[in-house]
């Protein structure tokens, strides 16, 4: 437990300054106020970006409508996917193949593309087997960068519309997200990762003869730079199938800690940016403290159950051993548990097998995936958080007898409809997805426990797909046309449905004046608000998913006794 406390302490100690710095950076660089005073750095970056805008034919001064902003993002995403489709389909005929020559079938390509462009990175394919080096090391990062930038832009445009009454330009935001956030930071991370021992080379493999004369091939690649965008962009697609459990992807305890930092920085920084744009840092600190409270609670619960170990095995071996199944000794129980709890909130990368965790871990993960607001995925998570703030403000407003306001903007029918849509997308896709799958592919073994576990896996698969998370309760044989196509559709609908609701919600707020607070305005930067917010966020998820989580992991817990 001491290790856990130390880890959490270090985590917060390093994360907070980093994200405050990044948050401030985003707040100045993505501020569309024409009268702002630009710093030297900004002027330099502006001149660098000018030719990029020119080449892309982007009119950087153009202010888009919410509709146009969404459509620009959407079509650019679709276009990029279409190009990548061609590359993936003909990967065998293209150069830089490495050791792989696999003709991908169309449903799998659809799944790969849908999962990457939506920042989900759910992996049904096995990179070492299915993808050539060109596909794996060039197409995948390209999609990861673009989806991450789209996510960042969505979060930024929403916050900007809410706090500054401006929408901005989709292309400018995407390009700026790349040039000012993703590229420079990923570059730094890559260097650190290389220093920690990750390989970073264009050589695809090395072969050697082992001591017992077996010829062995070890796959290599630009792992460090791949890892940088995988983690910082909260994508979670692995270079190798084992994801962050692979020694090349996550060589040491320290690299594991850095990976934890990488996936948490952007969502934390976004909340800080919100504070800057609202000119209310207390607000962002209150939100952050409540989110960290939940996150640390989950760290602790997951770790505690893993340390206690598997009661059945402990009974057999007559020892009190921690639950080491599916974990790497290099990373330890705590290192794996904390990462596990964090990843279901943030990204889909994994350093241990969640399948072998105590079912409480899957229960928490399913809650996180359904809720999506505890930091959540790149950009989108922040919007989900603000969306719950909106709901909280709505109820508080009614309880105080005033038309509800969020950050001084009145919440009316239109906003409620859009934010309800945002919240309905998840249950709609997940619940219907589970029902249809269980109906079409019952996979019934006749054993109650197996059935319940299979159901949990299916639930997890759909939940992680809709939450753009991508982690999975493996053990599900999911590289089949049905799984590939159904999840490709679910991920696509979830991502762009949410993106549309978010941008339109922002657009609807962008036209509203900000009402200055009066003495009867309920302040949203108080502990009281934070508590109500937490209740609201938990309640709205639990109310819908209560029977489903009970039937899955919770039954497993009580059956395993």
């Amino acid at each position: 437990m001491l290790e856990l406390l130390f880890l959490i302490f270090c985590f917060l100690l390093v994360l907070l300054p980093l994200s405050i710095f990044l948050g401030k950076f985003i707040s100045t660089h993505f501020n569309n106020d024409p009268n702002k005073i630009r710093s030297k750095l900004e002027k330099i970056l502006d001149t660098i970006e000018k030719p990029i805008f020119k080449v892309c034919g982007v009119n950087s001064g153009e202010e888009m409508t919410a509709r146009k902003y969404f459509l620009s993002l959407f079509w650019s995403n679709v276009l990029l996917s279409a190009i990548c489709f061609i590359i993936l389909y003909f990967q065998n005929d293209l150069p830089y193949k490495g050791v792989v020559a696999w003709q991908l079938d169309v449903p799998l390509i659809f799944h790969i593309l849908s999962s990457l462009i939506t920042n989900t990175c759910q992996t049904h394919h096995i990179p070492e087997i299915h993808l050539t080096s060109l596909s794996n090391y060039f197409v995948m990062p390209l999609l990861m960068f673009y989806s991450s930038a789209s996510g960042l832009s969505t979060g930024i445009v929403f916050m900007r519309a809410l706090t500054q009454n401006k929408i901005g330009n989709a292309y400018v935001d995407v390009i700026k997200s790349m040039t000012r956030i993703l590229f420079p930071i990923c570059f730094v991370i890559t260097i650190i990762f290389v220093l920690l021992g990750m390989p970073n080379t264009l050589t695809t493999s090395i072969s050697y003869e082992t001591l017992d004369n077996v010829k062995q091939t070890i796959l290599l690649g630009p792992v460090a730079s791949f890892e940088a965008i995988k983690l910082f962009g909260e994508n979670g697609l692995s270079c190798f199938n084992a994801n962050s459990a692979h020694p090349f992807e996550n060589p040491s305890y320290l690299s594991n800690f850095l990976q934890l930092l990488c996936i948490s920085t952007v969502p934390t920084a976004f909340i800080v940016t919100l504070g800057y744009w609202l000119k209310n840092h207390k607000q962002s600190m209150i939100i952050l403290s409540i989110l960290f409270f939940v996150l640390i609670f989950e760290f602790t619960v997951t770790a505690a159950f893993e340390l206690k170990g598997n009661p059945i095995i402990n009974n057999l071996i007559k020892q009190n051993s921690a639950n080491w199944t599916g974990k790497d000794t290099r990373l330890g129980i705590i290192g794996s548990s904390v990462f596990e709890a964090a990843k279901s909130n943030l990204s889909g990368s994994a350093n241990a097998s969640i399948e072998s965790f105590h079912p409480i871990a899957s229960a928490l993960a399913l809650f996180n995936l359904s809720n999506q607001s505890i930091f959540g995925v790149q950009g989108f998570g922040t919007v989900f958080t603000i969306n719950f703030i909106l709901y909280t403000a709505f109820f508080i407003g009614l309880m105080l007898g005033k038309t509800p306001e969020i950050f001084g903007k009145r919440i009316e029918k239109n906003e409620i409809i859009l934010s309800s849509m945002l919240l309905l997308i998840n249950p709609f896709l997940v619940l219907i997805g589970i029902a249809v799958t269980l109906y079409l592919y019952p996979c019934n073994t006749g054993d109650l426990y197996e059935n319940i576990h299979y159901y949990t896996q299916v639930f997890f698969e759909f939940a992680s797909g809709t939450a753009s998370n991508g982690s999975g309760l493996e053990g599900l044989r999911d590289n089949t046309p049905y799984w590939n196509l159904s999840l490709a559709i679910v991920m696509f609908l979830a991502r762009y449905g949410a993106m549309a609701s978010m941008i339109f919600l922002g657009g609807s707020f962008a036209h509203k004046p900000i009402v200055p607070p009066s003495i009867t305005t309920f302040r949203t930067d108080t502990i009281m608000f934070a508590i109500i917010f937490l209740m609201m966020s938990i309640m709205s998820t639990i109310l819908v998913y209560f029977p489903f989580i009970i039937l899955g992991p919770l039954t497993e817990i009580f059956m395993s006794r």
């Binding site: 309880m399 029918k413 009066s518």
Partner: protein, 683 residues
């Protein structure tokens, strides 16, 4: 003010419930018509569930094999029907109370004959329904005034109790802002009036009152619409739960009981708040009616709760309409007694209220003047000379008037002005008063201090406005000094002096651009544009027709202080709605715990059964009975509204959260358990 409202309430609650209840009861059944029901989608869903249950009553195995027999299915369908009926009943009680409030006894029945003036001045008898705007009618003692209009000739006392509930008659005469408009449906008590009709038939204020009561039954307010969207969204998600759950249960191998799934759905969807939304709205409007305020648009009532800034007219709102003399100041060697006498005589023939107030003041000084012994020629007050006085038979010329008019008058005659006069005149102006000068034979002998008199209790009102978070703004055509003094005296937050009507509109617009909700009270024609521009325009019934037409609320008692009650009613509407929504949603937790153990009958989920209800059947029935009964239990809160006080918002929120949030979590656990204990004996 509190007493006035109390009386009104008493009057308003004087409703014959024995007449209301049967009507409400029968209407609840009429409302089961799906075409009417569909207006409330959530209750409509319950109705569909009811029909499904009826089908299951006829054939219990319709949706798969079931261990429930027809009788139990019938019992469940009756419970669902009751859930709908209870909601309808609450709505109908609210409707009938509101109708009784503005019922037909206050409106003219049938058509009456009126005397219309033909252009040549002759009188013709026509039916009131044939009158059009611009017609001139003559009404006499005992006649009903047919339509709203303006007095153009005659003086009469009118009984306006039909609209205000006040029995004392009101004097109506032409040519004034406040007392020349008459309302259709009121009755002339004495004398006669010539009235120019200003409204079409069916558009008088009484007609509007009735139509408002009806439109409140149909139209939703803005916040209600957003709440409705939220409720529908939650219903969709629960519908998804109940539709997809059987697929999973089937897969895992849990037996599905269709009736139980239907029961789960009905218990989860927010039936409590959905059935009570309409009663909350209707009773909110009813409370406004009881306050004798006519809310012309549905929106205005809710907007009233949001008011951030209130524009007030000075004259008639904060102060009495007229200035009054409060002090006499002798100049030079003159004595107070002497100048009192001069002031009295000089003002005797001044018919303006200011003049009369001087006479009152002199009497208060204890100086009695026998006017009959005085002989002289009166010099009457005119707006042009701004002086009045008397030329006495003994040759003394006495005058009083506005300081600059008197100075000019004395200057032209080469009279004497004491050197400290200017100083004193300025002092009075500095204090916000108006100085008048008194002269006797070309000598200025004294000053009269006229002052605006603030209505009693005004200070408390502004204090209360501050507590409600409303900024008050005084708008006046007076000079800066006067405005400042009045503003300080009553405690208004800000003031605008020398304001022209268009200034008011610009100010209101500027505020509105910042998203601030502006209210305005007024009664004059010059206020009309600003009243129309404001989000909430509250016109006084005594005001001009233009003002009333421009505004979206009319205070029938012409008491501007009522704005506080109006704000509170607006807020109460939202609070009641919010509180019941919270209650309705938090109820779901305990319903889950009551119903799920009956549905998930597999090993490993025994821990879920924390309520230990008798049997799965009695658990489902108890939950449904509770679900129906809670609507009836909450109906009185919906009709009366949640208590609103001037607490700090944090405290009020805490109280409501504990009462309705925590209460919503705990009450159903207890309620369902108790019902289970009772019905467990029979099943």
């Amino acid at each position: 003010m509190a007493t006035i409202i109390k009386e009104k309430r008493k009057y308003a609650f004087d409703i014959d419930y024995s007449r209301v209840l049967p009507f409400a009861f029968f209407d609840s059944f009429k409302q089961l018509n799906p075409l009417i029901m569909i207006r409330n989608p959530i209750i409509f869903l319950v109705e569909i569930c009811f029909l499904l249950m009826l089908a299951l009553t006829i054939n219990p195995n319709l949706l798969g094999e079931s261990f429930l027999n027809s009788r139990i299915n019938l019992l469940i369908s009756i419970l669902l029907l009751l859930t709908i009926l209870f909601g309808n009943f609450a709505e109908n009680i609210a409707k009938h109370i509101a109708r009784a409030q503005s019922d037909s006894s206050r409106i003219i029945h049938g058509d009456i004959e009126v005397k219309r003036l033909k252009p040549d001045g002759m009188i013709e008898y026509v039916f009131a329904s044939l009158l059009t705007k611009g017609n001139i009618v003559k009404v006499q003692e005992g006649d009903l005034i047919p339509l709203d209009g303006e007095v153009i000739e005659g003086v009469a006392s009118v009984d306006e109790s039909a609209i205000t509930g006040e029995s004392s008659p009101v004097l109506k005469e032409p040519g004034t802002d406040t007392s020349s408009s008459v309302t259709g449906g009121t009755r002339i008590l004495t004398d006669w009036l010539l009235i120019k009709i200003t409204s079409e038939h069916g558009q008088t204020y009484l007609d509007q009152m009735v139509s408002i009561a009806e439109s409140a039954e149909r139209h939703k307010t803005p916040n209600e619409m957003s709440l409705n969207s939220l409720l529908i969204a939650s219903t969709i998600s629960f519908l998804l739960v109940v539709i997809t759950l059987p697929a999973i249960m089937h897969f895992i191998g849990i037996k599905i009981e269709p009736a139980f799934m239907i029961a789960l759905l009905v218990c989860l969807v927010p039936t409590t708040i959905s059935s009570l939304v309409a009663p909350i709205r209707i009773s909110g409007f009813d409370r406004m009616n009881q306050l004798n305020v006519l809310a012309i648009s549905e929106k205005s009532l809710e907007t009233a709760g949001d008011i951030n800034v209130l524009f007030l007219d000075k004259t008639g709102t904060i102060t009495f309409g007229n200035r009054m003399a409060i002090e006499l100041i002798p100049l030079g060697t003159n004595l107070l007694n002497d100048i009192c006498k001069v002031a009295y005589l000089a003002s005797y023939f001044d018919q303006t209220p200011e003049g009369k107030s001087i006479l009152t003041l002199v009497k208060r000084y204890g100086i009695d003047i026998d006017i009959k012994s005085i002989k002289g020629t009166p010099y009457e007050f005119t707006a042009h000379t701004r002086m009045s006085g008397i030329d006495l038979e003994d040759g003394d010329i006495l005058r009083k008037g506005a300081s600059d008019a008197i100075k000019k008058y004395i200057g032209s005659k080469g009279g004497k002005i004491w050197e400290n006069t200017d100083q004193l005149v300025e002092n009075i102006a500095m204090m916000g008063g108006t100085p008048l000068l008194i002269t006797k034979n070309n000598e200025v002998i004294g000053l009269i201090h006229l002052k605006d008199i603030v209505k009693p209790n005004m200070k408390d009102i502004f204090k209360e406005m501050k507590n409600l978070g409303v900024k008050t703004l005084l708008c006046t055509g007076d000079n800066n000094l006067t405005a400042k003094v009045i503003a300080n005296e009553v405690g208004v937050d800000e003031y605008i002096a020398q304001a022209k009507p268009e200034d008011k509109i610009h100010m209101i617009r500027d505020y509105q651009k910042l998203g601030i909700i502006v209210a305005m009270t007024g009664d004059g024609t010059n206020d009309a544009p600003a009243l129309a521009q404001a989000d909430v325009g509250l016109a006084m019934n005594s005001g001009t027709v233009a003002a009333k037409e421009a505004s979206n609320m009319i205070d029938l008692d012409s008491d501007p202080r009522k704005i506080i009650e109006i704000i509170k009613i607006g807020r109460q509407l939202l609070i009641t709605r919010g509180a019941l929504t919270t209650f309705s949603i938090t109820n779901d937790f305990s319903k889950y715990f009551a119903i799920l153990p009956s549905i998930f009958t597999i090993q490993g989920l025994e821990w879920l059964n924390i309520m230990h209800l008798n049997s799965s059947l009695s658990a489902i029935l108890s939950a449904l009975i509770f679900n129906a009964l809670i609507i009836l239990m909450m109906a009185p809160i919906a009709l009366k509204g949640v208590v609103v006080n001037n607490q700090d918002p944090n405290k009020m929120l805490q109280r409501n959260l504990i009462q309705f949030g925590l209460g919503g979590l705990v009450v159903p656990f207890i309620g369902i358990k108790i019902i289970d204990l009772i019905i467990g004996r029979f099943i």
